[in-house]
């Protein structure tokens, strides 16, 4: 099958904002080149997980090989790389892009460039890609292709004069895209006879095949039976299967230079494969690794606890299963006085956290409580030692701390002009420093330095709400800076609830504390006694609310006929109580934990 010369291979990815039509275009390309019969087409075939399909977010890189007979009469092989599309997976994105030579930049002709598009197109430019701009949805009445073309030139600084006009939905212009891939994107380079050098692009766990590894061959060949070595982990494996996706798995004898495909080699866990690693021949190893290899490092942490304590083992098993497929997610056991047994988990970012949480509840039917997301703080102690902590419980005594440092990010936000004021206020409220404010037509682009701990705490939700969903957001970590942070505790009925403790900037503590106790007050049902709810720093109370005591709660009339109805009511109450945490004498509903951790001040 792979009879075409390397000069007839084109490896490319599609860069786009969510909803701008990346998946639809991919589907259309697959369909047009005959990769799948119409009846096999599922909407958006590349996003295979439910969550991915619902949210339009790709978590794992995926590829598909297309055979294209071009107008010049020659046969071409296209490898379409679908990359993870979110800032949390920036490293994974950069590795997927490193496997290609070019990108299609898809921009919605009515929406224009978004923050995420920018971030990804810069990643593509960093990877040395040739970029072909594609304007999608040009058939819609609201389309303004000329303005958007100008915007691409102004904001991104690339030539968009020969942007391809398409409608992925109707199929308009798909043929032009295919020809542009042939003529405007470069072929890969590589030496067939050199020793094997291949990039480990991504990997995932398959119940039947074990770990499936997505590779890009740079030099040499990969064939069945060959013994390979992963240079980063220094582990050797015998290749069991070699092939590519059409998108169905198709085995071949070998993959040559410039080709993208998969291998299986009896690898047990995804954790044994590192995205960005270099694969070589165990017998004829090379010495120089491909550049850019980095191990995945979690930056956001939170505790996850089962609502029902009996689910702890199920949760452990579920996390183990997810980690099989996602080595960037880490967890270790944690005990909380309020929430019982659970796990402290590390994630690449907030979206990653949300996805894992959602998959745990959806795929494993688990009801979870998540504690406040935290970042990694550096503590310089007075005795000269340095500590990294991400759990408020681990915070040393304040008198022993010389200095606390927190991580900062640079955020890029694009917003329609009318919401700019609210967006700026939000960033200022979150201790942000404005770095840049420019205009792109009627859209403003602001760059802010922000502390990450203000961003992990519902920043994205707030941004969405103050901009009615129109603002887009992207960020990257910059450095650590000293910070005046304090540990704030919430006390319910005079007892601290460890799950609600958090490290917060001193200037933000009172507002946050007040918002949290107000929320708790709303959600803790009245008991037979008065319940004080307080926020405190050390011994100092900074906010206080009171849940009033029940005065009257009794069914007046209850006779024979009523029993069934009353029993059903009682069963409902019992069910509700199961969803509460008994904390001292107080029953706290799980919604109160969740809501308290979500409030904004």
């Amino acid at each position: 099958m792979t009879t075409v010369p390397i000069s007839n291979i084109r490896n490319f990815s599609i860069v786009a904002h969510i909803d701008h039509g990346k998946s639809t275009l991919a589907d259309r390309l697959i369909q047009t080149t005959g990769g799948l019969q119409a009846r096999e087409m599922k909407e958006q075939v590349l996003d295979s997980m439910d969550i991915e399909r619902e949210r339009g977010i790709t978590i794992k890189a995926q590829t598909v090989r297309l055979n294209y007979h071009a107008k010049d009469g020659r046969d071409y092989i296209f490898n379409l790389m679908d990359t993870p599309g979110h800032v949390d997976f920036a490293y994974e994105v950069s590795r997927s892009l490193a496997a290609c030579e070019g990108s299609l930049l898809v921009v919605d002709a009515s929406q224009g460039v978004e923050a995420q598009t920018l971030a990804n197109v810069y990643h593509a430019l960093d990877a040395g890609h040739e970029i072909v701009p594609v304007l999608n949805k040009v058939d819609l009445p609201a389309a303004e292709p000329e303005q958007v073309r100008q915007q691409i030139e102004d904001v991104i600084g690339i030539d968009a004069s020969d942007a391809v006009m398409i409608s992925a939905k109707t199929g308009l212009g798909i043929d032009l895209v295919l020809e542009a891939i042939v003529h405007r994107l470069p072929p890969p380079q590589g030496d067939h006879d050199a020793p094997l050098k291949a990039l480990l692009v991504d990997s995932w766990y398959d119940v039947y095949l074990g770990v499936v590894v997505l590779v890009r061959v740079v030099d040499g060949v990969m064939k069945k039976g060959q013994r390979i070595r992963m240079m980063g982990t220094n582990a050797a494996y015998d290749l069991e299967r070699v092939g590519f996706f059409t998108p169905k798995m198709t085995q071949v004898d070998e993959l040559g230079p410039g080709e993208i495909g998969f291998i299986t080699a009896g690898i047990k866990e995804v954790a044994d494969t590192r995205v960005g690693d270099t694969i070589t021949d165990d017998r004829k190893p090379i010495t120089d690794m491909l550049p850019g290899f980095k191990p995945a490092v979690p930056v956001v942490f939170c505790g996850l606890f089962p609502v029902d304590a009996d689910d702890f083992e199920t949760l452990r098993a579920a996390m183990g299963k997810l980690r099989l497929n996602d080595a960037s997610f880490s967890f270790e056991m944690e005990t909380s006085a309020a929430l019982g047994f659970g796990f402290r988990c590390g994630f690449l970012g907030l979206l990653h956290l949300e996805i894992i949480q959602e998959r745990l509840s959806r795929e494993f039917d688990l009801n979870l409580i998540a504690t406040a997301p935290s970042v990694i703080y550096k503590m310089h102690l007075t005795d000269g030692t340095e500590l990294e902590i991400h759990n408020p419980i681990d915070m040393p005594d304040v008198v022993k701390i010389a200095e606390i440092q927190e991580p900062w990010i640079e955020a890029t936000i694009l917003t329609p002009d009318e919401y700019l004021g609210s967006v700026l206020k939000l960033c200022q409220d979150r201790r942000g420093n404005q770095k840049e404010l420019t205009y792109v037509g009627s859209r403003a682009m602001v760059k802010y330095d922000l502390p990450l701990n203000e961003v992990v705490f519902d920043f994205y939700d707030r941004l969405k709400s103050v901009s009615k969903g129109y603002a887009s957001f992207d960020y990257h970590l910059t450095d650590y800076k000293p910070a005046d942070l304090v540990k704030m505790q919430i006390l319910v009925n005079a007892e601290p609830v460890d799950a609600l403790s958090m490290l917060v900037h001193r200037t933000r503590a009172e507002g946050r504390g007040r918002a949290m106790v107000e929320k708790m007050k709303e959600l803790i049902p009245p008991h037979m006694f008065v319940i004080p709810i307080q926020a405190a720093i050390g011994g100092k109370i900074i906010a206080r609310e009171t849940v009033r005591a029940l005065r009257k709660d009794v069914t007046a009339k209850c006779y024979g006929g009523d029993i069934t109805r009353k029993r059903k009511l009682l069963e409902k109450q019992k069910e509700g109580k199961k969803k509460m945490r008994q904390f001292g004498k107080v029953d706290i509903p799980q919604e109160a934990f969740i809501a308290a951790l979500k409030v904004d001040s």
């Binding site: 709660d553 009794v554 009339k557 209850c558 006929g561 029993i563 009682l570 069963e571």
Partner: protein, 386 residues
């Protein structure tokens, strides 16, 4: 007179589903018909259903009968007589059987009281509801306060035992107003009073009015004050509460209602009647068709109107026991709860509720809700059952 909660008891509840008009607060199974009710036909159906039910529960000795509704005092005495005869024919009847009947306190119905007594009724419960005409009108009642008091006097002259109902926590009612009304009521009551707080039930005209803000009921604090007044006044007058809303001179409690709260066995006869039957050691929750005409046709076709017959599992059984039993001043025997549910009540929850002063444990081991716990009973029960 009142038996202990451990003594065997078997009650029969008879539901007469018709009223002359619907009261706007009532969510009971009652129906207004503008054609004459064929009482003889209904009587035959009642007799039929009694026969069928007795066949499922043979050998019981009936300790109490309750004729409720609807408005059972719309029945002719002969209809009541026929029903009671059927009960006596298919079960045996205890010598000291209590036969209660609900009645509207109107002059028309009072003329039938003597006939009911001749038929075997030995206790009446009158739906007086309020002692001022404005409130009665607002509650949709068809009688005046004067007429009601006359009916009470007639009942007193005919029956050894009688009771009447009042509804409190009515719109704009203050604790002082209620206290005065209650004093007046106690002067007319002999041994028993049922005092219900007005509850806004779904699917009633009051529910719609209340939701639209056109019917103001007292807030939680006022409701509590009204409840407290009720307890104080009644206790001082020798009518302590033996259940949340029921007051009696010691020994004069309504035995039939006690049987519900004690979790004992009873059969439900008539449209929309509920029963709890113990068959082969398993408690069945039984309910009949609610619509009178549909019930009638079912009974005529197959001998009974049962549409629900659920076997209660141990948890359901125990929940009902707790839910009902804690309504009583006498409380429950925790060992009986344990026997029913297979687990003991949580000692930690008990300790916490005792600390709050909501419950107490008697020297003989009975668990009782305290005077300060009763106004919060639903929360106490939910805590204990969880």
């Amino acid at each position: 007179m009142t038996r202990n909660d451990g003594d065997p008891a078997f009650g029969v509840y008879i539901h007469w589903p018709f009223c002359l008009s619907k009261c706007p607060y009532c969510d009971f199974n009652s129906h207004v018909r503008h054609v004459a009710i064929d009482q003889e036909r209904y009587l035959r159906a009642f007799v039929r259903e009694i026969e069928t039910t007795a066949a499922r529960t043979p050998g019981r000795e009936v300790t109490s009968i309750f004729l409720g509704g609807g408005t059972p005092s719309l029945m002719q005495p002969s209809t009541v007589g026929g029903i009671l005869d059927a009960i006596g024919k298919h079960w045996s009847i205890a010598a000291d059987v209590e036969v209660s009947m609900e009645a509207n306190p109107t002059s028309v119905e009072a003329t039938r009281f003597r006939g009911y007594r001749a038929a075997g009724v030995n206790r009446v419960s009158l739906g007086v509801q309020a002692l001022d005409d404005l409130s009665l009108k607002a509650l949709g009642r068809l009688h005046t306060a004067q007429e009601a008091m006359e009916a009470v006097a007639i009942a007193r002259s005919i029956f050894d035992r009688y009771s009447f109902d009042l509804i409190y926590a009515r719109p704009h009612q203050t604790p002082a107003m209620w206290q005065a009304e209650l004093q007046l009521a106690i002067a007319q009551a002999a041994e028993h009073l049922s005092l219900y707080q007005l509850t806004i039930e779904a699917d009633t005209p009051f529910f719609g009015l209340h939701a639209a803000g056109k019917l103001q009921t007292p807030d939680e604090a006022t409701a509590r004050a009204l409840y407290d007044v009720t307890q104080e006044v009644c206790a001082a007058q020798g009518l302590p509460s033996y259940e949340i809303s029921n007051h009696a001179r010691p020994g004069a409690e309504c035995r039939h209602n006690l049987l519900y709260w004690r979790g004992q066995e009873y059969a439900g006869i008539g449209p929309g009647a509920h029963g709890r039957l113990d068959i082969n050691g398993i408690r069945h929750a039984v309910a009949t068709e609610k619509r009178p005409e549909a019930w009638l046709m079912r009974v005529e076709a197959c001998g009974h109107g049962v549409v629900v017959d659920d076997r209660l599992n141990s948890e359901e059984r125990a929940d009902e026991f707790l839910l009902m039993g804690l309504r009583l001043a006498e409380g429950i025997d925790p060992t009986r709860y344990q026997a029913l549910s297979g687990r003991a009540l949580d000692p930690l929850r008990i300790a916490m509720l005792r600390e709050e002063g909501a419950i107490m444990v008697d020297p003989n081991g009975r668990l009782r809700v305290t005077q300060s716990g009763f106004p919060l009973l639903d929360a106490v029960v939910a805590d204990l059952a969880a």
